[in-house]
């Protein structure tokens, strides 16, 4: 079954009937016969501001000068064409498709179930550190090009198997048109990543991006824990992450102020240099935008750690910072029974079925081995005593 026809640069394309994803404002549709692009259509007829914004964006090519690694996807899902109806009405825009399983929203790295499903055998702490670096790099480059992300969250950045990141919802980016000087503000935000000033209605700035960047890096480095999670001791029953941000209550800075859920990864998994930045971002930086670490500062601190990551000798996918004497993930698994990076070990279920006759011989195989081992150990003890 097919959906509607739209025109991209005058060429008609047929969209799939059902969107890949849809929210209240817009829906993203695959294109029949072309799996490299998608078309985002606005639900309500978009106004002239939005059309002018898209038209201006098409004349720009941000991050164009970047050295391209052949394996790296573009860092921005920049609009490639305006989508119009048969009557020439502006409906939305086309962009390159960044879909699963090759491209996964950052939030997919925040739960074990999704890490194991979408990044099998690779999403360890070293990988998360690398993604953090790429995220800081992308943010630095966008700021350098005069772009403010504005709506910066774990849902609108995708990451690929190499840890490279791409920002998706470019139509919400805030920028000033270099030709006309017209400013296009960012009108969206995601509360769990919004700095206090954004929550109370201020415009998006590089500093509000820096707040979201700090939260995302912290989440990556702790395998998904939000620095403003946890219920404050003096809160009302409906307290949320948003409230904790507004009140500047982070357990990273003020652990005594919050009921910290069992199993929350301890902030000390962050190497000291990075932990200091987190303290600044989630302490004084909450209400003082200028105090928040910039992407460049994060990059320097992340850089220092990348070459010193240690691998755990005991369990797979356990890597950690050089500042720690022992594997924090093994410690956590011992305390909580939850291994952050490896699948749960199922308790063996007793099967009340008698084994078939023909396996009888081999059943004693393991016993023999145990017997021989026991003898060897006894012999060693004896020898030890004799000497």
């Amino acid at each position: 079954m097919t959906g509607r026809t739209v025109h991209l640069d005058g060429k008609p394309v047929v969209l799939a009937e059902l969107p890949l994803k849809g929210g209240g404002q817009a829906a993203v549709f695959p294109v029949e016969g072309d799996d490299t692009i998608v078309v985002k259509l606005y639900r309500d007829r978009p106004g002239p501001d939005l059309e002018r914004r898209l038209a201006r964006m098409l004349t720009m090519s941000p991050l164009a000068a970047r050295p391209t690694d052949a394996n790296q996807s573009p860092e921005l899902a920049w609009p490639t064409a305006i989508a119009r109806g048969p009557d020439d009405a502006f409906l939305g825009y086309a962009m390159r498709r960044f879909g699963e399983p090759q491209h996964v929203q950052l939030v997919g790295l925040f739960t074990r179930a999704q890490r194991l499903r979408l990044f099998p055998d690779r999403a360890d702490w070293r990988f998360l550190l690398g993604v953090s670096w790429n995220l800081a790099f992308m943010t630095a480059r966008m700021h350098y090009d005069g772009l403010v992300i504005g709506d910066f969250s774990s849902s609108n950045v995708v990451v690929d198997a190499n840890g490279f990141v791409t920002f998706l919802d470019c139509d919400s980016i805030a920028f000033t048109d270099p030709g006309t000087g017209e400013h296009f503000p960012c009108l969206m935000h995601t509360t769990d990543y919004s700095s206090p000033e954004r929550q109370s209605g201020a415009a998006a700035t590089p500093e509000s991006d820096n707040f979201a960047l700090a939260v995302l890096i912290y989440q990556l480095l702790t395998a998904g824990n939000h620095p403003f999670g946890g219920v404050p001791h003096d809160s009302t029953s409906e307290s949320t992450v948003k409230d904790n941000i507004a009140a500047s209550v982070s357990y990273v800075v003020r652990p005594e102020a919050v009921v910290i859920p069992r199993g929350t990864v301890d902030p000390s998994v962050l190497p000291p240099g990075l932990l200091t930045l987190a303290h600044t971002a989630f302490g004084p930086g909450v209400h003082a935008p200028a105090a928040r670490p910039t992407p460049e500062v994060w990059l320097r601190a992340l850089d220092q750690e990348r070459s010193h990551v240690q691998a755990c000798p005991t369990r797979p996918l356990h890597t950690y910072g050089s500042h720690l004497p022992t594997c924090p993930w093994c410690t956590r698994a011992a305390v909580t029974g939850h291994d952050v990076f490896n699948p749960p070990v199922r308790q063996p279920v007793p099967v009340p079925v008698a084994p078939p006759e023909d396996t009888r011989g081999s059943r004693f195989g393991p016993l023999k081995v145990v017997g021989v081992l026991l003898l060897v150990v006894l012999l060693l003890i004896l020898l030890d005593h004799l000497s």
């Binding site: 209240g24 179930a113 935000h189 769990d192 395998a223 999670g229 219920v231 409906e238």
Partner: protein, 253 residues
């Protein structure tokens, strides 16, 4: 209302519960499984729930914070389901399961329509869950309760009853205080009177839909959960709901 679901957590679920400190989004499906749903409708519901469960597992965003509980009203009473398992009302186990671990139950349709009691149980499990999460230090988004029925509230003998009136002041207060978002959806051959009950329960988010578009309904619940995670304003939820209400099911066109 006293809670039959004290804040306890069986040890065997600790592994799932403490994955991370994500703010949780409790979602309750409160479903009519009375005799009028027998045949194709309950089959459609079972299939849609199985499909939606797969989508939920694959949705990286929703599976970060959504947890699902199912309440049914049919047979001889109401029941709370922990995934595919119908809970013994005497056990203190919470019916909420994290999205990635949720398994769809399969229902059979029979019996009476204790809609009032089911909604009361839904409110009760939500209140208990909030207390449980809070005690564990976990925050929550506004829970969503989705009531789906094709009939009218009855008593335990299958006779229509006006006992649902007792819910109205409670529901009004709870929704006013933003303690949960209630969707009340009439399907199949629901009558005008049935629709009026739903309008009274959920003045903003009620609908009367032709046929049994459970798939679209569950997708609407996902879209709404997504908006909740994003911190969207009320107008976004109204938009999502009106899109659901006005979309024509494929078999009508």
């Amino acid at each position: 209302m006293h809670s039959e679901y004290p804040p306890t957590l069986p040890a065997e679920y600790a592994d799932i519960e403490f994955e991370n400190n994500a703010q949780r989004l409790p979602l309750v499906l409160c479903l009519d499984t009375s005799s009028s749903m027998a045949g194709a409708p309950i089959q459609t519901l079972n299939d849609a729930l199985a499909d939606w469960t797969r989508e939920l597992h694959d949705d990286v965003s929703l599976s970060y914070s959504v947890e699902v509980a199912v309440i049914t009203f049919g047979g001889r009473g109401v029941g709370a389901w922990r995934g595919p398992q119908l809970l013994d009302p005497r056990t203190p186990m919470s019916p909420f399961v994290p999205a990635h671990a949720f398994q769809a139950p399969r229902f059979t349709a029979s019996g009476v329509t204790l809609m009032t009691e089911a909604l009361e149980l839904a409110m009760q499990v939500v209140a208990a869950r909030k207390a449980e999460l809070r005690a564990s230090g976990l925050q929550y988004y506004r829970p969503q309760i989705c009531l789906v029925t094709d009939g009218l509230p009855t008593d335990g003998t299958g006779h229509m009853t006006d006992s649902w009136h007792r819910l109205l002041p409670v529901l009004a207060e709870e929704q006013q205080a933003r303690r949960f978002r209630l969707y009340a959806i009439g399907v199949g051959g629901i009558t005008d009177r049935g629709e009026q009950v739903l309008q009274a329960f959920a003045p903003k988010f009620n609908a009367r839909i032709q046929g049994f578009p459970f798939r679209e309904l569950l997708q609407m619940m996902s879209a709404s959960a997504n908006a909740e995670q994003k911190g969207a304003g009320d107008e976004v939820f109204e938009k999502i709901f009106s899109q659901f209400k006005t979309q024509r099911p494929a078999w009508e066109s």
